[in-house]
Amino acid sequence: MELYLYIALFAPLVGSLYASLFGGSPKSQHVGIVASGLLFTSFVSSALLLSYVMGGHTVHVELMTWMETGDLYIPFGFVVDQVSVVMMMVVTIVSTVVHIYSIGYMDHDKGFNRFFSWLSAFVFSMMVLVMSDNFAGLFIGWEGVGLCSWGLIGFWYQKESATWAANEAFIMNRIADLGMLIGIFLIYWNTGSLQYDVVFSEIGNLPLVVTTWIGIFLFIGAMGKSAQFPLHTWLADAMEGPTPVSALIHAATMVTAGVYLVVRANPIYDLIPNVGIFIASLGAFVALFAASMALVNRDMKRIIAYSTLSQLGYMFVAAGLGAYWVALFHLMAHAFFKALLFLGAGNVMHAMHDELDPFKMGGLRKVMKGTFIMMTLASVALAGIYPFAGFFSKDLILEVGFVEHHYVIYTVLLLTAGLTAFYSFRLVALIFHGEERYKLFGIHPHEAYKFMLVAMSPLLLLAIIAGSFKMTYYQLVTSLLPDTQYHVHGEMTYWIMTIGTQLFVIAAIVFAYKKYSNWNSVPDGSSKLENSFGYKLLSNQYYIPKFYEEVFSKPYLELSRIAWKQFDLKIVDATVDSIANAIYKTGENTRDIQNGNLSTMLRWMVIGLVVLVSLALAFTVGYNAVGA
């Protein structure tokens, strides 16, 4: 089984290195095929590991020693247990699909090979993150994921906005990573180890206040990676990257790392329910906050990005309330339909020549039947309609909120569920129904390559049936995670809740369809709604990016400018320059010595002799004076 573990882990790395060999050369189809093939190998190995783990075993290997100094011992250890194997499956399935899809999507791109190199490297980092058996390895994967996302968001580096977004994502993540790093230091400081099993067995003996700080700092790290408020702005801007990247990173894998961390560190969070309540409240807030921004946005990918943000909020609610297995389940289900939604959006973008405004589309269902079906079903799953995947995972989170008596959180999540359904179907209605507004812009849409649709179909299947794995999944992961069952008291309440939620969601869908499926004009910002305060607030993302710009970026820029002009130029540069100038001048002035005239040289020799003799004399006299 160890062999499969290594294959699952290193196949993406091999793919990345292979692709990077051809990084500088023009597009070569084999790079995409090899990288996808290796990813598929990784997926098969993960599946074999899954079946092995389902038999009740876990695999734990130590590849080699990484650091050994004094008491510090950190190995490159990897573990495949019930939690990591679930993550491995999610990562490898989605990334295999995305790799194959990208062969079609990046078909005409100059950076085809470079793209695959980054993409596979990203998957490798993610695998390190989920498979590591200690916090140090997790952190390496964590940073690797951040780095690769930087490369992928800024993939079209000739676009100013893309590089800006890449830097924003990277810097935001760095800020959070500092918190994470402090958390890891605290763990090492107090338990003397970074291995999960040691840490989790020791954590109960620590003073509560220490545990609380560890929990808080680790969660700060998770907030950055999972784009929770107030570090959320990067996620929507990250949509500058190619769409498969959005599907892979900003829906299925990277952003879920934060949730994974909280789930993985569940023995820590179990001890500090207060932090858990905070996490859950923040999650609920983000769920509503992000959903509200998605309501009015006019950028297809951003709408989906906000919905990701909102769903991450759901996951944190579950994780915060101690329902770790529910969080992980929603993570899994969400990964499938969100990736599908993004890939569908990629098809639409290609068809519309990179147009992102759904108001400029309309009626695309006639030309893009496959994409239409897939996106609609993905949206149904996202909205949480029975029997799609979203129903099982999302309803469960609502139930958790209800059973744990957090009725405010429950209400917020319920409201968000309605909003989710509304904005998802607003998008679907605007893109695929109504008048063909794109004709105004002279665009001739076409369906994507057939193999891209075929590649997407496993995701479609999973988005539909993932809910039926619930019991198998539950039995699998609860051998590692707390196996709290969440049952609403009373049959009656349960049915009222479930049916009520369903009706509410369906009503939201119907409302969205009614309002947007017959849309016939492109809004130009003059209508009454668009000028209302609420609309402006939402479409400007609550002015938070602007606020960050004014409060952090601009003063920082000013500070940097002062440091540059006053400190760097006038002190540091001046010092260095003056040293260089002094040496240069000395050389300039003394080059006359070397004029090739033997007579001059002899004179210098004599001067040297005189100097040496007088030095010798001076030392002798001085020595004698001291000696006497």
Binding site: R591, Q594, N595, G596, N597, L598, S599, L602, R603, V606
Partner: protein
């Protein structure tokens, strides 16, 4: 007046000074050789005198070595000088500046 060590050393110093000035001022290569010979012999006098004064023969041996070396040096130097003279017709130091940096 008895001739003491001091007299020898003064003579040696004067000769050394003459030699140094010659090394610095002379532009003729031949004269430069003379000047170096004076320098070497100034030290020879000092060696021999001090050796006699402290009753140790090593100083006089050193003087012999220096004479031998001076002889070979002049032999090589004059050889080169003749070659140079044959090629350029001059032995002026100021015109030997092919090593200019």
């Amino acid at each position: 007046m008895e001739i003491t060590l001091t007299h020898y050393l003064v003579l040696s110093t004067i000769l050394f000074a003459i030699g140094l000035i010659g090394v610095m001022r002379r532009k003729n290569l031949l004269m430069l050789f003379f000047a170096t010979e004076i320098l070497l012999n100034a030290t020879n006098i000092a060696f021999a005198a001090i050796s006699y004064y402290i009753g140790d023969l090593s100083g006089q041996m050193f003087a012999f070595f220096i004479i031998a070396i001076a002889a070979s040096e002049v032999a090589i130097g004059l050889g080169l000088l003749i070659v140079w003279y044959k090629r350029t017709g001059k032995i002026d130091l100021d015109q030997m500046n092919s090593m200019r940096g």
